[in-house]
Symmetry: C2
Subunit: 208 residues, 2 copies
């Protein structure tokens, strides 16, 4: 049993990883099998993960990520993508509920039509922002799960998204949202945790 509050308090962004620690695909799959329960708008599951453990490919990401050393030494470097066209999957994703009888045919049709309209009416900027928003919700869940399983992570935004897109032939509909380095933190030169604002500075009650 792993204490929830300890995971929340002990997860910190790792600045340095112990080199040559390998992680198996099975271990990563175990994390993703829990990550999938993160919520998403209309349950469209906009998040897609590209997990890179191959050293040569990690080296390429390192070059596209301002040569940040932790990309190289991480056990896995994980690109979190957001699907701007996730809403087009609404029919397929709800077929199960239709088949189970949770949704009748009319409810299913309304769900499909209204979801597609919602995204098409709000346009491409909204579709892109939805990809970022929902992939980020998923990414936070992933980082906490990784910590609960004994791994440290660092979310990163300092990379060239178009270079990454080209390196991995990422289809146009997916956008790079975050890079997460994952490994075992080298705590020999750990800095104190970054300052956090007091609640009164980031929480307002009832009016601004």
């Amino acid at each position: 049993m792993i204490d929830f509050m300890s995971v929340i308090k002990e997860r910190r962004s790792a600045t340095k990883f112990i080199q040559d620690v390998e992680i198996s695909q099975q271990e990563l799959d175990d994390m993703f099998s829990l990550t999938k329960f993160a919520p998403s708008a209309f349950n469209l599951q906009h998040a897609h993960y590209l997990a890179v453990t191959d050293p040569a490919r990690k080296e390429e990401i390192y070059e596209a990520a301002n040569k940040q050393y932790k990309v190289k030494t991480a056990s896995a470097t994980i690109l979190v993508l957001g699907d701007t066209k996730a809403y087009q999957q609404v029919g397929r994703l709800n077929e199960g509920l239709l088949n189970l009888g949770v949704l009748n045919r009319q409810e299913y049709d309304i769900t499909v039509e209204s979801t597609i309209q919602f995204y098409e009416k709000r346009g491409e900027i909204f579709q892109r922002e939805e990809a970022i928003r929902n992939a980020s919700l998923s990414a936070m869940q992933f980082m906490l799960i990784a910590k609960a399983k004994g791994w440290d992570t660092c979310p990163m935004i300092g990379f060239d998204p178009e270079a990454i897109r080209s390196l991995f032939n990422i289809p146009e509909q997916y956008i790079p949202v975050l890079l997460i380095t994952l490994g075992k933190e080298d705590i020999s030169s750990q800095r104190p945790r970054g300052y956090r604002k007091p609640i009164s500075e980031f929480v307002t009650y009832n009016s601004f």
Copy 2:
């Protein structure tokens, strides 16, 4: 002790809340005091929470949120905002590390200058997307903490952001990222959990 994996597995988006359940500001503050440990780019803490427990104000949000009933019946309706100008706080947020001697004056100056440059060079769309990304990371942490403390939540995107902005006099630099309804779920008519894609559909290893 609350089991981490149970929180992850049991958190579900609530579709219906038990009416007239009150939540105190102290309980919400307890959640925010843990939410603040969520990571953010350059530790800029872009997330700002507007927590609404006042029934009259909840009624106004209900009108701006397509009259979704759960907004009214939730114990609190929480607007998650993202600060597009969070990077301008980099000096203030790092003063503690400077005073502690973790950063020397030169490192502090470089941190401040490079962070401001990073955001100004990438421009307004990036600043907006960063607000969405970092507020979403924080929001997921908040929803898990709420579950661990016995509350249910539902993240929502179906609202008119400009109507909300005007209702609460939200300054231009903050953007509405998500609405989270929080309460005790009425499970008497709970639907089965939404279908989730198998791992092979949302995780790719080493290349696309």
